[in-house]
């Protein structure tokens, strides 16, 4: 066997291995989705979406849970996006290379790896107790904001990094200030990438149960929250609660709630992908 033949064989082998790796993830996901769909799909009807929690699996609904999830998502977006994007812009465009800033950078990267339950304990102490917010939507959203901030900051920075130096130079050459350059050139050009970060952040936030349980989010809430200071429950807590019940009917409910949760995630991602494509088509150099 000649050397080039050997290399070609290696190439082929890696290709097969790569396909195998790609499919493992997809196949497992597909099995999970099909299983959940078979078990839960028929359970979803209007009543399931509009009923309050109940001890009878057949009458239990997820109204308060999905409304709570939407509240949390909106509040978390409102709190975390401006903070995260601003921090990313600062670190990438303004900060000087000094020890304080590299210290900040290392820590933000580390924060992305902290287990979510730790954020829950932090939120319980600071937001629920010291700030006196209790187990309210606001306390939950603030806690999840902390949780997703590192993701937004890191992806914002990556997106900004990808904007060519020449764009900034051209802007400066025309007499634009740093702020004008950032606002009118850099941010629009990197917005597609930033949106990707936002998708990741929201998808993370939507599935969290543990930190919210710690700050005092509830399982049985018989009213729809109407203000950020109201108590709440979210879909993942309802799912967690139902999967641990002995009666098989509750497991079906859990599967149905998982489908709704996935649907919310897919819709959110869909919106973000749509916005990103629209935005990217606009930016032409």
């Amino acid at each position: 066997m000649t050397n080039s033949e050997k290399n070609r064989l290696k190439d082929k082998a890696f290709q097969v291995f790569g396909v195998f790796c790609t499919f493992i993830g997809l196949v497992v996901l597909a099995i999970f989705l099909i299983d959940i769909l078979i078990e839960g799909f028929t359970r979803i009807d209007w009543e399931f979406l509009t009923n309050l929690p109940s001890r009878r699996a057949s009458r239990a609904g997820i109204l308060t849970a999905w409304v709570g999830t939407f509240w949390i998502l909106i509040l978390t977006s409102v709190i975390a996006f401006p903070l995260g994007i601003s921090a990313g812009v600062y670190l990438e465009e303004y900060s000087k290379k000094n020890r304080l800033n590299s210290f900040l950078e290392v820590n933000i990267a580390n924060l992305a790896g902290v287990p979510s339950i730790i954020y829950g304990l932090l939120g319980l102490e600071i937001f629920a107790r010291v700030m006196g917010l209790g187990g309210s939507l606001l306390a939950g959203a603030l806690t999840l904001s902390l949780l997703v901030l590192p993701i937004i900051i890191v992806t914002t920075r990556e997106a900004i990094k990808a904007v060519p130096r020449s764009i900034r130079d051209a802007s400066y050459a025309l007499g634009a200030s740093k702020w004008q350059t950032t606002w009118n050139q850099v941010l629009p050009a990197s917005f597609g990438g930033i949106l990707t970060g936002i998708i990741l952040a929201l998808s993370r936030a939507v599935g969290e149960a543990a930190p919210l349980i710690v700050i005092g989010a509830l399982a049985y809430v018989p009213f729809v929250p109407t203000s950020p200071t109201d108590e709440f429950t979210v879909l993942p807590i309802q799912i967690f609660n139902w999967t641990s019940r002995p009666q098989a009917d509750f497991l079906v409910n859990a599967a149905a709630a998982i489908i709704i949760l996935l649907l919310i995630t897919f819709i959110l991602n869909g919106i973000a992908v749509y916005l990103r494509n629209k935005w990217q088509n606009k930016v032409k150099w």
Binding site: P53, R55, I213, Q247
Partner: protein, 331 residues
């Protein structure tokens, strides 16, 4: 009381419950329940949660303007919040610990413990296991105590006539009240056991484990056995105390209720904060709880206490709510 049927048939329980509610609705309440407003915050054990959820659900028909919310942060998490005065009532699948009671005392919180139902911790093996016909508490201790770690690995180490095969243990996770109760009852010391067993806070995971492992032995709440009878085999337990039933006793609604399934039948509690009972909606709710806990606990898979016990608890609570020092000094 007709509604305390010993059968747990869903239909029976549901019909009986309907009857009870009708009765309470017609009977009316001293306070004129439906006008009550306010909110009641409950948290704690996820084991007790289904009962409290059921009571809260029915209470909504009684007093629609009262906002009752229930969390599931666990017996320990619930006591933490309860002893800081952050919640009115906490669900607990074990009694309050000394350390938790000390915190409550520091914050000058007095409280009342009310048992609301029973659960029978059920010892189970795989259905193909044909050698275990019964087990004694001493044998359970031998396999679960801390000293067993790494040493007790085969069935015949526990009883010589059992086969020379590995034993695989499945049990509640160390954070759960179930674990605390089991270790207290079997090992003799709360929170002490071997560490080399498959632990899960989710009983459905344990059901899954035992039902797929022919060499398994595990324990969990009676409802999980009842719902999965086809894939599990329950083992009668002998506490070698003839006073409460002779020989090995199988867990069942009757044996748990009459106390012969010892020591693994455990009471489930709610704890009520004395400051909260100054509010009429809390008093109403707790009374409603004790009136309906029997029927509702059976409906969600637990075992009700005898009628006279609910009456006794109600009396205890009324004294407590009236501020009688005897009751307030409980615990």
């Amino acid at each position: 009381m007709l509604y305390l049927t010993s059968s747990i048939s869903r239909l029976g329980a549901a019909l009986a419950l309907g009857g009870t509610l009708l009765l309470t609705a017609c009977g009316g309440n001293q306070e004129g329940g439906s006008d009550l407003t306010g909110s009641i915050q409950i948290d704690g054990s996820s084991t007790v949660y289904p009962i409290t959820e059921a009571v809260a659900e029915e209470f909504r028909a009684e007093a629609p303007k009262v906002r009752v919310t229930v969390g599931v942060s666990g017996s320990g998490g619930g006591f933490k919040k309860f002893s800081r005065g952050e919640i009115d009532i906490t669900n607990a699948s074990r009694s309050i610990k000394e350390s938790e009671a000390a915190v409550a005392k520091e914050n000058s919180i007095t409280y009342l413990e009310l048992p609301v139902a029973f659960d029978g911790l059920t010892v189970v093996v795989h259905p193909e296991n044909d050698w275990v016909k019964d087990i004694t508490v001493a044998e359970l201790k031998k396999m679960w105590e801390p000293a067993a770690q790494g040493k007790i690995k085969k069935w015949n180490q526990i009883r010589p006539e059992w086969p020379d095969k590995e034993i695989h243990l499945y049990g509640a996770g160390v954070e759960s009240g179930t674990y605390d109760y089991f270790t207290e009852a079997i090992v003799g010391e709360s929170h002490a056991s071997r560490g080399d067993y498959t632990a899960s806070e989710d009983d459905n995971v344990l059901v899954q484990g035992v039902s797929t492992d022919p060499l398994a032995l595990g324990f969990f709440g009676y409802a999980y056995y009842e719902e999965n009878k086809a894939k599990l085999k329950a083992i009668p337990v002998d506490d070698q105390n003839e006073e409460n039933g002779k020989g090995a006793i199988m867990p069942s609604i009757e044996t748990v209720k009459d106390g012969t399934y010892a020591p693994l039948s455990r009471p489930l509690f709610i704890y009520v904060n004395s400051k909260a009972v100054a509010r009429p909606e809390v008093v109403e709710f707790v009374n409603f709880y004790l009136d309906n806990a029997g029927a509702l606990s059976e409906e969600v898979g637990y075992i009700s206490m005898p009628d006279e016990q609910y009456e006794a608890q109600k009396k205890k609570f009324q004294e407590f709510a009236a501020g009688t020092p005897v009751a307030a000094a409980q615990q």
